[in-house]
């Protein structure tokens, strides 16, 4: 008799702790933490630092949960695109069912904990954000309409509103303006990326505007949304969250952003290919700075307020 046998056991992939962290999209989470924190600190009512800290943490966990649900649903197209192929699910590190379980469990956890730590309004907004991102955007709109980015941008725009609701327990003009700032900023930001990353989306069959309507229409849309964004961003400077610092920053950034969008609008494909999308790439870089500095300026106004320097007096 021999001991020799064939090992027919299928080895399941075992994820490391870092793979589960990657499932929560930490880079998106860091943006959510920043904007939610600005919303919280810009609010006219203060909260205890412990409650503020815990609330921001639960908002971040909620954002991570929706990221995990997105990775579970989108594993097939993530595997095709170079930018996303190394994500834990398409890379085979985390099983799809596990990603779903992590997403659902953390969604429920974050909403309940935010309701207990802060209030029902902020918890309801967080629940709606997760639903909007995971179901409306990921499952429905992303593969169906070239306006996916426009409507999906709403999910990324909610965090400052949630932060504001943590402090005030409600929704105000200022929190809606912060929402609109991210909401209208998203299309030009993503379409600039799509202009020089087109091949990836085309391969995955995602109906990006560049794929469905061509680059000319995308360029027109970038300019259109940027023109819409400028008065809104500058106008926010005259509300209670704005002030001289914000207004100065916003005026400079919007002038640069409009100039960039205008240059993108004027270009044709031949020129772009000749200089390897130089203008589009620099516009994309500027868009990141644009959002970061606008929220940074709102934060600066809030930080100066106790010294009688922030806001309009």
């Amino acid at each position: 008799m021999t001991d020799a046998s064939i090992n027919t056991q299928i080895i399941e992939p075992e994820a490391s702790f870092g793979d589960y962290v990657a499932l929560l999209k930490p880079r998106v989470m860091s943006l959510v933490v920043f904007t939610a924190l600005v919303g919280l600190l810009a609010a006219p009512v203060g909260v205890h630092p412990m409650i503020g800290f815990a609330s921001i943490l639960f908002i971040a966990v909620g954002a991570g949960a929706s990221g995990a649900l997105n990775m579970w649903w989108d594993a097939d197209i993530d595997a095709v695109m170079k930018r996303t192929a190394k994500r834990p699910v398409p890379a085979g590190k985390v099983a799809p069912g596990e990603a779903l379980a992590v997403g659902v469990a953390l969604s429920g956890f974050s909403v309940v904990m935010l309701a207990l730590a802060a209030n029902m309004v902020s918890a309801a907004l967080l629940a709606f954000t997760i639903f909007f991102y995971a179901v409306i955007y990921t499952m429905w709109l992303k593969r169906w309409t070239p306006q996916n980015i426009v409507i999906g941008g709403a999910a990324g725009a909610f965090p400052p509103m949630i932060g504001w609701a943590v402090a005030t327990g409600g929704i105000g003009l200022e929190s809606v303006l912060m929402f609109l700032l991210i909401f209208i900023w998203t299309p030009p930001h993503f379409w600039a990326l799509a202009l020089f990353m087109n091949a990836d989306y085309e391969k995955a069959g995602v109906p990006m505007l560049t794929v469905t309507h061509g680059r000319r229409v995308t360029r027109n849309n970038i300019l259109g949304y940027t023109v819409l964004l400028a008065p809104l961003a500058v106008g926010t400077g005259f509300t209670s969250i704005g002030g001289p610092v914000y207004l100065a920053v916003s005026l400079v950034l919007n002038a640069l952003f409009l100039l960039g969008a205008f240059r993108i609008w004027r270009r044709d494909e031949e020129t772009c290919q000749a200089d390897k999308y130089k203008v589009e790439k620099s516009f994309f870089g500027l868009s990141l700075l644009y959002l970061f500095l606008h929220f940074g300026a709102i934060l600066a106004e809030a930080a100066l307020r106790p010294y009688g320097l922030g806001g309009w007096g």
Binding site: E14, S16, F17, G18, Y20, H48, M50, I51, A54, L116
Partner: protein
């Protein structure tokens, strides 16, 4: 008797267990912190208990030891 050498998989599992332990520990600290803040924030520590309690009426002077 000899022990088998630690496999890379064991290291990964250990890392996952330590990670989870730290997350749970962090959660305990946060819930404790939230509880302390909410209890000491000046909120009333008594609630309706099917019996009238004058000290809970608005404007009532605090009872000694309350």
């Amino acid at each position: 008797m000899s022990f088998r050498a630690t496999h890379e998989l064991h290291n990964r599992r250990a890392g996952r267990n330590i990670g989870l332990a730290l997350v749970l520990l962090g959660f305990i600290v946060i819930v404790f912190g939230l509880t302390v803040v909410k209890v000491t924030n000046g909120d009333p520590m008594q609630a309706f208990d099917h019996a009238p309690r004058p000290e809970m009426m608005p404007g009532a002077t605090p009872v000694q030891g309350d």
